[in-house]
């Protein structure tokens, strides 16, 4: 392999269309499509008494109005519960349009289709829905008391309850181990809601072809293959008659993995029924109140430890707010419960969570998916232990680390993929050494004293995480070399800005020995690749990257077999470089990969000059065997799948220095440092970009973003004016260092990188503020006014 592209800072091939305005996002398509709009519930909990559409029917350009009553079988059924789990004893999903009861503000009630969106909204505004109010259930702890119910048939609002327990080496349970420990602490932690909040909302555009009875759907989704299956099932269409394409997608961060959304069922259904193209584009308020949020948890922690800060027993009880419905099951609290352990070897562990219904927007994964809460819990615990014992916070962590010689390390739990939580590789002590050096941990005390002398308050914080990435079950790749020498790669998972076209092309170019510009990559288009899972859990590079590499290796082997015959050489003596198959050490003996592609497909008809070589009188074929030998297929192409036995575990450590204003309590991040280990890097520029974006979202979650619900279940800050996402002025410069501990689990040795940046940020910022102020921080996010209040309480 001489074309060294794997590991290089290759510029993105996505960029050209995106910087010239030529991107194709869903709303850029279907200019003549009818527009859909939705009447959504203004109440958090209510019974629908009547829907009166009479005032709307005269609106100019109105095409159709649908309520739940109008929907046919299957379409009218509750949406699927995507990830069933035995502990989710009371899973509930929404109807595509509300049937009788609405359970959160924003739940769709009526669908309107009109000539354009303005007119559809005119009609929607004239539809009168008569509601009988029911008692809204808001707040995790209130909901857990079960005085009022979100779903009549779910007692205590308890959707799921799960306990996992890992005894100590001597067989003691966590509670026992804590009782017996020399030191114990107990405390409570709170973590508020935030949301993925991609700048492009959701969107669906459907085209029904009445002549061949086929449906094409464009959706701003993280999984086109699964949307396709869901739509085909809901509409009763044969799978081959449905195509789903995720075109350019303006960010996902988790929310777009949920599917099928009501709109993903209803828009195609209406397109079929009306025989017209129909499109729906979510607006920002709809995104706030009708998609999904994440993060909200209350955690109760008890920990027992020895004099060096080694944890002997840890007992965590989590209340998880999953909103009104559970389409994505209990993946988020499962991840919190398991990934909480981070890079540590814990004596005995017990974790229990209750996943609770409230009359709020449903909770499904947002970048980090439960890990930020888990890491917050563990890292706050480490800091408390250090404070209690008067030890250095980094030393307490080091005392608990799993050591490089301990891998594979079995944490004894079941992870989100239903498989054992076994870490494959990592080097946590080295990571800690690097982050301490990068941030200047050891010299900080002097810096702090200096600042204090100037009347300034600064503090430092540290946070460690381990992230299970690349979860299965599988992804596939298809690679085809055409007779012009071009390489066409496709994989089924989708892209939302991660640069997959670039990194997958780097992998293919490296594996096949062709120039990068000859490789093209298609993702998320079921016309090109029908089998896939989706883009989530930092899995795309690991899963599709390896699948594409394996498919390339098949193609390469085939190319070498064909070339060997043409060159009368041994395939083992051949190499491919710059698109030419060569006999190693004999530059004269070579054949272009393009020609190999021609020869791979025996032809009867010469459609062009090159193709003549593969026709029956060209003299190229051996007369002793059929033109397509047994076990071979025509064409220079290959397909392969990568299906790992379990996830691969990336890790990292962040550190920050913050300054708090003594008067205004303003919190400013002075420095932010990241050490990140995602195994072998395919493209360091892209990995750094992922880290920057993750940290920025983490900063948002730590200092600015929250979903403010009032007691009536109204989301008070459902706009960008009130939900404060960081601008350039809020995000610090991020200093990054990479450690590369290859994964032994996959051929490329890679681990996922997409989510990592966001995971430990709240923990790190909380620690730094605590260090600066000397006040315990036990809830995030924290605003200046909250810090001010904490100061008041600390001194009173």
């Amino acid at each position: 392999m001489t074309t060294k592209l794997f590991g290089e800072r290759v510029q993105r091939r996505e960029d050209l269309r995106l910087i010239t305005g030529q991107g194709r996002y869903v709303d850029d398509l279907g200019r003549d499509a009818l527009a859909a709009a939705f009447v959504r519930s203004p109440h958090a909990h209510a019974r629908i008494r009547d829907i009166d559409v009479s005032a709307a029917v005269d609106v100019d350009g109105l095409v159709a109005i649908y309520t739940w009553e109008d929907l046919p079988e299957r379409v009218r059924d509750p949406l699927p519960l995507l990830i069933p789990h035995p502990a989710l004893t009371h899973g509930r999903t929404a109807y595509p349009l509300a049937r009788d009861i609405v359970r959160h503000v924003g739940e769709p009630v009526v669908m309107v289709v009109a000539r354009d969106r303005y007119l559809a909204e005119d009609a929607a505004a004239l539809i009168e829905v008569d509601y009988e109010f029911l008692k809204p259930v808001v707040g995790i702890e209130e909901a857990a008391q079960g005085a009022h119910l979100v779903h009549e048939d779910v007692p205590g609002n308890l959707g799921a309850h799960l306990v996992q327990e890992v005894p100590s080496a001597s067989g003691a349970g966590a509670r026992e181990a804590i009782e017996a420990a020399p030191h114990t602490l107990a405390f409570r932690l709170d973590f508020e809601r935030s949301a993925s909040m991609p700048l492009e909302g959701r969107g669906v555009y459907a085209r029904w072809d009445p002549d061949d009875r086929s449906l094409r759907v464009y959706s701003s989704t993280q999984t086109s293959t699964s949307v396709r299956m869901a739509v085909a099932a809901k509409l009763g269409l044969p799978l081959p008659s449905v195509e789903v394409i995720a075109p350019d997608v303006g960010g996902g961060f988790g929310v777009k993995i949920v599917h099928p959304w009501p709109e993903e069922v209803l828009v195609p259904w209406a397109a079929m029924l009306l025989g017209r193209e129909v499109k729906w584009t979510e607006d920002r308020r709809e995104h706030f109140i009708s998609s999904a949020h994440e993060r909200g948890q209350v955690q109760h922690v008890r920990v027992g430890f020895d004099g060096e800060g080694r944890i002997l027993g840890l007992d965590v009880t989590i209340l998880h707010d999953h909103g009104a419905y559970t389409p994505y099951g209990i993946i988020v609290p499962i991840i919190t419960a398991t990934q909480l352990l981070g890079p540590y070897r814990i004596g005995a562990y017990r974790v229990e969570f209750s996943s609770i219904y409230t009359n709020t927007v449903q909770v499904t994964p947002y970048r980090g998916a439960g890990r930020p809460q888990g890491v917050f819990c563990m890292e706050r615990t480490m800091d408390r232990i250090a404070a209690h014992l008067g030890l250095d916070r980094a030393d307490v962590r080091a005392a608990n680390f799993i050591q490089p010689g301990d891998f594979p390390y079995d944490q004894g739990l079941i992870f989100q993929d239903g498989r054992p939580l076994i870490y494959d590789s990592g080097d946590y002590p080295e990571s800690l050494r690097m982050i301490k050096e990068l941030i200047g941990w050891d010299g900080f005390a002097a810096l702090k004293a200096e600042a204090a002398a100037e009347g300034r308050t600064i503090g430092i914080g540290l946070g460690c995480y381990v992230e299970g990435t690349g979860v299965g079950p599988y992804e596939g790749g298809h690679v085809q070399v055409t007779s012009d020498g071009r390489v066409h790669v496709s994989t089924g998972l989708t892209s939302q800005g991660q640069g997959h076209e670039t990194v997958f092309a780097q992998i293919a170019a490296t594996e096949l020995g062709v120039p990068l510009d000859r490789v093209s990559v298609v993702t998320g288009d079921t016309r090109r690749f029908g089998y896939a899972v989706g883009t989530f859990a930092s899995r795309a590079a690991v899963m599709s990257g390896n699948a594409i590499a394996l498919a390339c290796r098949k193609v390469r082997d085939k190319a070498l077999r064909i070339a060997a015959e043409a060159l009368e050489a041994d395939p083992r003596d051949l190499e491919i470089e710059d698109g030419m198959v060569r006999v190693a050490g004999n530059p004269g003996a070579s054949i272009a990969l393009a020609t190999v592609a021609v020869l791979s497909n025996p032809l009867r008809y010469a459609f062009d000059e090159e193709a003549k070589r593969a026709t029956q009188f060209s003299g190229a074929a051996s007369m002793d065997r059929p033109p397509v030998a047994e076990g071979e297929e025509p064409g220079l192409e290959g397909r392969d799948y990568y299906s790992p036995v379990r996830s691969t575990f990336a890790s990292g450590m962040h550190a920050a220095i913050v300054e708090t204003d003594p008067d205004t309590a303003e919190i400013k991040i002075l420095r932010y440092a990241v050490v990140h280990d995602c195994g072998r890097l395919i493209n360091p520029m892209i990995v750094e970009g992922q880290i920057h974006g993750g940290v920025a979202q983490g900063v948002g979650g730590a200092l600015y973003e929250r979903m403010v619900y009032d007691a009536h279940g109204q989301l008070l800050n459902a706009s960008f004016m009130d939900f404060l996402m960081p601008y350039a002025t809020e995000v610090p410069f991020i200093e990054t260092a990479h450690l590369e501990t290859p994964s032994p689990l996959n051929p490329l040795g890679i681990k996922g990188a997409g989510e990592a940046g966001v995971i430990p940020v709240s923990a790190v910022i909380a620690a730094a503020i605590e260090d600066a102020e000397g006040i315990t921080i036990d809830r995030m996010p924290i605003s200046p006014s909250e810090l001010h209040e904490l100061r008041g309480r600390a001194t009173s």
Binding site: I19, T20, Q22, D27, P198, L199, R284, I691, M725
Partner: protein
């Protein structure tokens, strides 16, 4: 998208003429049609994106007579007769990328690309008015645009790089 809540039984249409990216374009639009919708849906210039429609994210930023404006807060009829530059008009006549476009790609200042047209327009005007901005001026200059993907670090870098490229070419 905006609606005033009243049915518009056969809304009155207004004929407007805009010079978009140097080309004179005519459109017939209702009074309430947003400039963003007019550009995207009437004129087919979908490079201008819509992220919030309440004037906060900056995705819809275009240049109106050279100055950045939120096209989601502007009615199309109110800019009748004016000149508008959208992201599609930033490249040269032969399609050569502007220094700002080149710098964004070079510095990996975009991921999903949804915010990018707004940043490109904003930065184009910023550097025209201030060809060598300081770090603070850059951060300040882009602080009206949201990006959920990049964390801004590479966008800041790209603005400096674009200034450098423009300096080289001047």
């Amino acid at each position: 998208m905006k609606t005033d809540g009243r049915p518009a039984v056969s809304e009155a249409l207004h004929e407007i003429t805009l010079t978009v990216n140097g080309v004179v374009r005519e459109a017939k639009v209702p009074g309430r049609r947003l400039l963003s919708d007019c550009l995207r849906h009437e004129l087919g210039l979908t490079g201008t994106h819509v992220g919030c429609e309440h004037g906060v994210c900056g995705c819809c930023t275009v240049l109106l007579d050279g100055d950045p404006v939120r096209s989601c807060l502007t009615f199309a009829v109110s800019v009748d007769g004016h000149e508008i530059t959208t992201v599609e008009g930033l490249s040269g006549p032969g399609g050569e990328l502007s220094p700002v476009q080149r710098a964004f790609s070079e510095c990996h200042a975009l991921q999903c690309g949804f915010c990018t047209p707004g940043f490109l327009c904003t930065v184009t005007a910023l550097l025209r008015d201030n060809p060598a901005p300081t770090e603070d001026e850059v951060v300040e200059g882009i602080s009206g645009n949201l990006c959920r993907c990049t964390g801004y670090q590479n966008i800041v870098k790209a603005v400096h790089r674009a200034a450098e490229l423009m300096g080289d070419e001047a």
